[in-house]
């Protein structure tokens, strides 16, 4: 990506003074991947027992645990502080096998996936004669050496490409760089839905390994070509796998990882997931980080008509789409999943059978029929999350 002019800077910098600098390294937001340094983990820093039926987001934001088939393995996923030395990273994503499945069934598999919005990918010009190559770079470590697969899947046009990398030395951080050719077939939708899936494969049954690895773009109906050669990280409880510094950028060369300030990185993650808790507090019934004068203050109840209270909340960041809301109790009451209000008798009471109205990507409204006096406001206790993940 060439920089042709930056305001009037071109008139004030001496000739040739920046000629040898790495301009590509100062271009912001070159990384298609969000939270590639694994620094944001709003949901928590550890999740145990991940296996069959646990597809979803558990620790590091934007990184999805993806199981396929009906596997018997289980993993603990962690936001780890084990990082490559001297590279500037503070966190990694760790997958630790806790229940082994040494012989995966044909349809079983496990990947770590990031889904990417189509409207953020128009500049890769996929499906045109000018389709850009994509280069992925990352740091990885595992006790299990051998061949691993990275796959990019075009979800709009059912196409895929896979590349392998090798972990050469056990339990040693290694930097890998892989380039994927541009695809002149299949334009990506310019919308807020998932157009590309980016997958780190960790294990795969023969449904995904019995063909020839799809090192060029092809129809993804050919699952057998997806993960040929992939080792099975689930074959022993001694196995673990770490990754950080994941960057996917246009071009055929990798540039230095683009570190973003934590507030900027968080802003990007908030488009997909937000919570009424501090950054380091995992949402849960009974979590206690918020106070009446803090985050909960914006969510006080109003009795808008006799014996009906409501509370409107505006998100910090507009969501990708209308999000799913989950409610949590605070500490004053004991009913899971239900917030409370401080009633006319000076006592906390559960808000039973709430109705949630969430009609857009900007906020939501919660209301409930309780004993309350019209025109009064009431303290709110509880928490919520809003998820608009892909």
């Amino acid at each position: 990506m060439a920089i042709t002019r930056i305001g009037n800077i071109a008139n004030t910098i001496p000739d040739n003074s920046i000629a040898n600098s790495k301009l590509t390294d100062i271009v912001n937001f070159k990384n298609i991947i969000i939270n590639g340094d694994m620094s944001i983990a709003q949901r928590g820093t550890s999740a145990t027992g991940l296996g069959d039926g646990d597809i979803g987001y558990h620790t590091c934001d934007r990184w999805r645990f993806q199981e396929l088939g009906t596997p018997t393995y289980e993993f603990t996923q962690t936001q780890s502080t084990d990082v490559p030395s001297g590279q500037g990273f503070a966190t990694s994503l760790k997958m630790d096998c806790t229940t082994a499945d040494a012989s995966l069934s044909a349809s079983d598999a496990v990947t770590i996936r990031q889904k990417i919005e189509g409207q953020n990918l128009q500049y890769i010009k996929k499906g045109t004669a000018n389709a850009e190559s994509l280069t992925c770079s990352f740091w990885v470590k595992s006790n299990k050496t051998g061949t691993y697969i990275i796959q990019i899947r075009d979800n709009d046009n059912s196409r895929q490409i896979s590349k392998s990398y090798t972990i050469d030395s056990a339990s040693t951080w290694e930097k890998k760089t892989i380039t994927f050719a541009g695809d002149t077939t299949g334009t990506l939708d310019n919308d807020n839905n998932a157009s590309l899936f980016f997958d780190f494969w960790l294990g795969a049954g023969t449904d995904y390994t019995s063909g020839t690895l799809a090192t060029s773009w092809e129809a993804s109906a050919l699952n057998t070509n997806t993960a040929v050669g992939q080792v099975n990280i689930a074959d022993s409880t001694a196995n673990d796998w770490f990754v950080t510094g994941v960057q996917l950028e246009i071009g055929s060369a990798a540039s230095d990882f683009e570190f973003l300030p934590v507030d900027v990185n968080l802003q990007r993650c908030l488009r997909y997931y937000e919570k009424l808790y501090s950054l380091t507090t995992a949402p849960a019934d009974g979590a206690t980080n918020y106070t009446f004068g803090g985050a909960a203050g914006e969510a006080s109840w109003t009795c808008f008509t006799t014996n009906n209270i409501g509370s409107g909340t505006k998100f910090k960041v507009e969501k990708r789409t209308t999000p799913t809301i989950t409610l949590f109790r605070g500490t004053a009451t004991v009913t899971a999943g239900l917030p409370a209000y401080y009633n006319d008798s000076d006592a906390w009471a559960v808000v039973t059978s709430p109705t949630i109205t969430v009609n857009d990507s900007l906020g939501f409204f919660i209301r409930s029929a309780v004993t309350a006096t019209r025109g009064r406001s009431y303290l709110f206790e509880g928490g919520w999350t809003a998820s608009a993940e892909l």
């Binding site: 008509t305 989950t326 109205t357 009609n359 608009a388 892909l390």
Partner: protein, 60 residues
Amino acid sequence: MIKNVEKMYSLTSPIVFVKTFKVTLNNDAVIYVPLDPANTDYQAIQEWIAAGNEVIDNGA
């Protein structure tokens, strides 16, 4: 994994469907899912319905 899905209605007149579903998962956790085709949980509801399940509708 979805256990059941219920349409949510407003509590006061006029009683209308508020375009949100109360979804109880197999672990008894409850989530509130908007009627939004771009929401992946709503997409999961559609798959759940396509598999032969029915949404609870207590009506207006």
